[in-house]
């Protein structure tokens, strides 16, 4: 059974269509990432799930019950906010206990559950501090403990890592994922960061302008993008797109290699003019243009850091190639097609 099931959810704010018919089923225990650019409606959708916003139309079903008009407190979902939303005037202990207090749970039960949640996240030693005395990473753990203490049907996370610095973010990503595996709680995670999405999601739902463009595993999203938006939104640098007779041909930068580096298999050859190249330590990104094709973006090739720098001089044309199995075709509307 799906823990959370959204059926054609639409949300209209005055004259803005924030969510434009999202249908999504999240099975029990799954980690789903909603990925999209800012303003695409992913946070609004999350707020609809937890009941902070009422959808204009569509059904929301949580654990088998239609909850369209059920207030947040009765939905059995927990949410962790971008800025954590910790209560500054409460100690960590009281922050974690708050969701239980609102449900009039007995004192002894509260104590044991707070204990359980704080041990789970390794914050037992912080229980008597106030939020302002905590570091960013500690605050995040407290917020997570507060969200989990009620053992919710679904855990909703709204860009939980965006307030952490880059180093901490990597370890926090690891923490959240491991911990979700251990607890097995159904999780819906909103982010605009594709690294987070690819690294954490069992499945990713790519959202653009209030609509889901594609739902799939990270590998499906990356290798078999359903349309041009997904192809160019996921991946750094994004998929190269060549326009030809209104249709599009796409290939990932790491599949676009000097011809001599391709061994075996069918491939398509292009003449590539190198404009500049960036050395990034572990790899080299080469920017340029392909003869005979229009492209709004510079074409990029992702090469090993060493080996090719001698031969790829700026301003010169080189034979490059892509294996045919790595070519993707999109029609005039940007939808994926089999063969051009």
């Amino acid at each position: 059974m799906a823990a959370v099931l959204a059926q054609n959810i639409v949300k209209r704010f005055e004259n803005v269509l924030a969510v434009n018919g999202i249908t999504l089923a999240v099975p029990d225990g799954e980690f789903v990432v909603l990925l999209g650019p800012s303003g695409c409606g992913k946070t609004t959708f999350l707020r609809i799930i937890c009941g902070l916003e009422r959808q204009t139309s569509g059904n929301l079903i949580i654990a088998g019950d239609i909850v369209n008009d059920v207030p947040p407190r009765a939905r059995g979902v927990a949410m962790m906010f971008q800025s954590y939303g910790l209560y500054p005037h409460y100690t960590v202990r009281n922050n974690i206990a708050f969701p239980l207090r609102t449900q009039r749970v007995g004192r002894a039960v509260i104590e044991s559950k707070v204990d359980w949640a704080s041990r789970l996240l390794g914050i037992e030693h912080l229980l008597d501090r106030r939020p302002r005395q905590l570091s960013g990473g500690e605050r995040q753990r407290v917020a997570l403990a507060r969200a989990l203490v009620r053992e919710p049907t679904a855990l909703l996370l709204d860009e939980p890592l965006s307030n952490l610095d880059a180093k901490l973010r990597a370890s926090a990503r690891q923490d959240i994922k491991q911990f979700q595996r251990r607890v097995g709680v159904t999780t819906i995670y909103v982010t605009h960061d594709q690294v987070e999405a690819m690294g954490m999601g069992d499945r990713i739902a790519v959202i653009d302008r209030g609509k889901i463009r594609q739902v799939g595993t990270p590998a499906e999203i990356y290798d078999e993008p359903a349309d041009r938006f997904v192809a160019t939104f996921v991946g750094t640098p994004p998929m190269n797109l060549l326009t030809h007779n209104g249709a599009h041909l796409g290939f990932r930068p790491e599949n676009f290699l000097p011809k001599e580096m391709i061994r075996g298999g069918d491939f398509s050859e292009f003449s590539f003019r190198v404009d500049r190249s960036e050395y990034l330590g572990s790899e080299r990104i080469v920017y340029g243009a392909i003869e005979g094709f229009d492209s709004s973006q510079p074409i990029t090739a992702k090469l090993p850091a060493h080996g090719a720098e001698q031969t790829l001089r700026p301003g010169e044309w080189h034979p490059f190639a892509v294996r045919n199995k790595d070519l993707r075709y999109f029609d005039q509307d940007g939808k994926r097609t089999d063969r051009h």
Partner: protein, 309 residues
């Protein structure tokens, strides 16, 4: 090795950039304010302190020192004790009423509705209208014959004409009246304070409380109110200090009557010290406010500091 003579270094005048120095410029800017406070607050205050321990009256302007005799005398005066009681009742009842009205007014004004901006502007009126003008209007509303409040209640059949209350004639009702009028004057200020406080609470925290299962009351009294408490307390200190020392409403509405039932410290100090010319006792009455207010303000500020988050 040849040494090359260095040209003599020029020194700028010590005073040339004197205005660039923070401590100099700062002192110059702050000086008028300090002077103002010293002359208009400090000197009269010291004068009042001296009056209160002297036998000075306008009929006998002697500076004879009498120690704490004046204070001993006013403390033995039952009218003064009643006045002291009235002052506390007047201050705290009107502040409490004002705060409650302010809290709910702020919650109402936070919700968007057509014409909200106009209502927000109008709600400031009680605070902005000169108190003399407002008191005249209230006086008519509480008038023994023409009271619009009584007229409304009689017309609606709530009371009979014969039992219409004499608002300003009955000691208890008169106290209620000055309290209500003062609360009416204070509540726009309370609304502004609450609005500022509530809008400063991050939406994420309110949302988190909602998702955590808190309903309207719990959100307001366990999350929002404790968070904005420092702001409200500062507003409350202002309100208490102003009300405790205020005499205008009592002076205009009841003149301390009936039979001292609404007399407050500021009013009595004015009556004894200025109207009756007994400057030393008037000063003693007025100075009685000082330790009370001082203790209250220090206590509240410490409480706020402890609650600071």
């Amino acid at each position: 090795m040849a040494t090359i003579a260095e040209p003599a270094a020029r020194t700028a005048s010590r005073f040339r950039f004197i205005l660039d120095r923070r401590e100099v410029l700062g002192s110059i800017f702050v000086a008028p304010a300090i002077l103002y406070v010293l002359l208009l607050v400090g000197v009269p205050f010291l004068l009042a302190v001296y009056y209160s321990v002297s036998a000075y009256t306008i009929y006998d302007p002697s500076w004879r020192f009498v120690g704490l005799t004046n204070f001993r005398q006013i403390l033995q005066n039952p009218v003064f004790l009643e006045t002291l009681e009235n002052t506390f009742l007047f201050t705290f009842a009107s502040q409490l009423l004002g705060l409650i009205l302010g809290k709910f007014g702020a919650l109402l004004l936070l919700r968007p509705f057509p014409g909200r901006k106009i209502v927000r502007a109008l709600i400031i009126l009680p605070w902005a209208v000169p108190i003399a003008l407002a008191s005249v209007a209230w006086e008519w509303m509480f008038d023994s014959l023409y009271s619009v409040i009584n007229w409304t209640m009689i017309t609606l059949g709530i009371i009979d004409r014969s039992e219409a209350p004499n608002w300003l004639g009955n000691p208890h009702l008169a106290m209620l009246c000055v309290i209500v009028v003062n609360a009416w004057r204070f509540f726009p200020f309370a609304i502004v304070i609450f609005l500022a406080g509530i809008t400063s609470v991050p939406q994420d925290i309110i949302d988190a409380a909602t998702v955590d299962g808190a309903g309207f009351w719990r959100r307001n009294y366990q999350i929002i109110l404790p968070m904005i408490f420092p702001i409200v307390a500062v507003g409350l200190i202002f309100g208490i200090v102003f009300t405790f020392t205020d005499l205008s409403i009592v002076f205009l509405l009841t003149n301390g009557g009936p039979i001292n039932a609404t007399s407050v410290l500021g009013f009595q100090g004015f009556q004894v010290g200025i109207l009756s010319g007994d400057v030393s006792h008037g000063a003693a009455i007025s100075l009685f406010m000082l330790p009370v207010l001082l203790l209250m303000v220090v206590g509240m500020l410490r409480f706020i500091r402890r609650r600071e988050i």
